[in-house]
């Protein structure tokens, strides 16, 4: 199903990230020796207990921060700074409060110097696709959380990045809105077939959406296991949960994850996040 010749492949080799702890004379290792590969057009989720460095990993792939050690390549090219072929959907909706829906969605095109006429057409197309036609002139504070998330998604997709990184994008939404958004995301993904790396702490969400799921350990974050998800596509996130295979996958992965979650929790209780 996933072509190997597609662009948008990500390779992580021995990726490590440490931060100095200013008041203590030591370093905090957020991510340690992480290696895995994401094929072009593949949908991969990363799950792990909170504080395991999932978001750090995305920041490294996006080139927002330089890593301490290891190598990340996008289609064979090492990451050095922010890559224009990449999109990022943030946990909090990082859309611009002083811009309207249309201005927000059009912003990356403006930054990229796309001429006004074709930019306008693409913005209208994406606003229609996310179902916000009629809301073009609204400001973010006038929209619901789900609508803002849609704007953020359209803003990322409008310039058709080859790789889309998503950092717990639907975490703040209520369950119903969340399921709707997940289905919309799958539909968009099926249509455009971009590489998606999706960070979440919700195992069900990860299984329902992905081709493969990377399970991380409690901090310092390492790869504990990688599971292929052989559930049929196209999927509906609300219905796929009743597939017999889903339950089996969930159980296996949860056994892996629960120890890490407990470990992560105990450490955070003791304040021993190093």
């Amino acid at each position: 199903m996933v072509g190997h010749d597609r662009t948008g492949a990500i390779v992580l080799e021995g990726v490590t990230q440490r931060f100095p702890l200013p008041r203590e004379d030591r370093e905090f290792t957020a991510v340690q020796d992480v290696s895995f590969t994401v094929r072009g057009g593949e949908f991969v989720s990363i799950v792990g207990p909170s504080g395991c460095g999932k978001s750090t990993l995305l920041g490294l792939v996006a080139g927002l921060v330089p890593g301490t050690a290891g190598r990340i390549t996008l289609d064979g090219q090492p990451v050095s700074g922010v890559n224009p072929r990449l999109g990022f959907v943030f946990q909090r909706d990082a859309i611009f409060p002083w811009k309207t829906v249309a201005q927000n969605v059009g912003l990356p095109l403006l930054f990229r110097g796309v001429d006004a006429a074709s930019a306008r057409a693409r913005v209208a197309e994406w606003i229609a696709r996310i179902g916000l036609t009629g809301f073009e002139g609204y400001h973010p504070h006038q929209l619901s959380g789900g609508m803002r998330k849609r704007v953020a998604l359209a803003m990322t997709m409008v310039y058709e990045p080859e790789i889309v990184l998503m950092d717990e994008p639907f975490g703040a939404l209520d369950v119903q809105t969340r399921n709707l958004m997940e289905n919309d995301l799958l539909e968009i993904w099926a249509q455009f077939r971009r590489t998606v790396v999706f960070v979440t702490h919700d195992l069900e969400e990860a299984i329902a959406l992905s081709d493969r799921v990377v399970v991380m350990t409690a901090s310092p974050g390492r790869v504990k296991a990688i599971y292929p998800i052989d559930l049929p596509r196209p999927r509906s996130v609300t219905e796929i949960r009743f597939h017999p295979e889903f339950g089996r996958l969930y159980e296996t992965m949860w056994t892996d994850l629960k120890d890490e979650v407990r470990l992560g929790y105990e450490r955070s209780q003791k304040g021993l996040m190093g």
């Binding site: 611009f96 930054f111 973010p140």
Partner: protein, 259 residues
Amino acid sequence: MSGVKRVSWAEIRLWRAGLLVAFLALWEVATRRGWIDKFFVSQPTVLATQIAEWVWSGFIFRHLWVTMQETIIGFLLGTLLGVVVGFLFAHWEKLAYIFDPLMVALNAMPRVVLAPLFILWFGLGLLSKVVMVISLVFFVVFFSTYTGIREVDRDLVNNARILGATQRHMIRHVLLPSALTWIFSSLRTSVGFALIGAVVGEYLGSHEGMGYVISYAESMFNSTGVLAGLLVLMAAVIAIDVALKRLDTRFSYWKPARW
């Protein structure tokens, strides 16, 4: 305790008006009966007559206009300077580190004491008052611009970077709008400072403007003139404040109303 009652605005207004009238009446009666000497505190009816006379003859408008000119010119220049320097400092951290002690020291200095120096350097006319106003407005705007840019949402900056923003885009679409909310939130403070600067400057040395009117009346031991001048200034400040409140809501259209 759940004894919190909703306030009735009609009632509040009634109280306010009532207290004001009572105060004015007491003042009038006290000075008429000779409980207090009119020479020191004037009298409401005399004050009203004085202000009416000033308005009728147009005398007050000339002086008010001079003060407004100084306030507006100084305010605009001070704001511009504050925004530019705040921007530069936020952008080049080294600059901020180097000049930090100087900024703190200059800001700590009571500018009012500088007024005589400014008058000595820049004369009795408009320029010395404008400089005085700038010296007050600059710091308010500088500090809020600086904070506004330093405190900009990191996610927004990162998002803009990923969306392909150049340095110029970042300033135009992220940093400036973010700083603008801070600048606007300090606008009413800085306009107040601007007016104080202009009036103090005039008071200490000039031949026109509201500060001059008050200072002249004072030198004649004319308490009516001093109080009438103050009342006119007060009215001007209230008018400006109302206008600024309107402007603020216009420019903050994107903010949720409860902010």
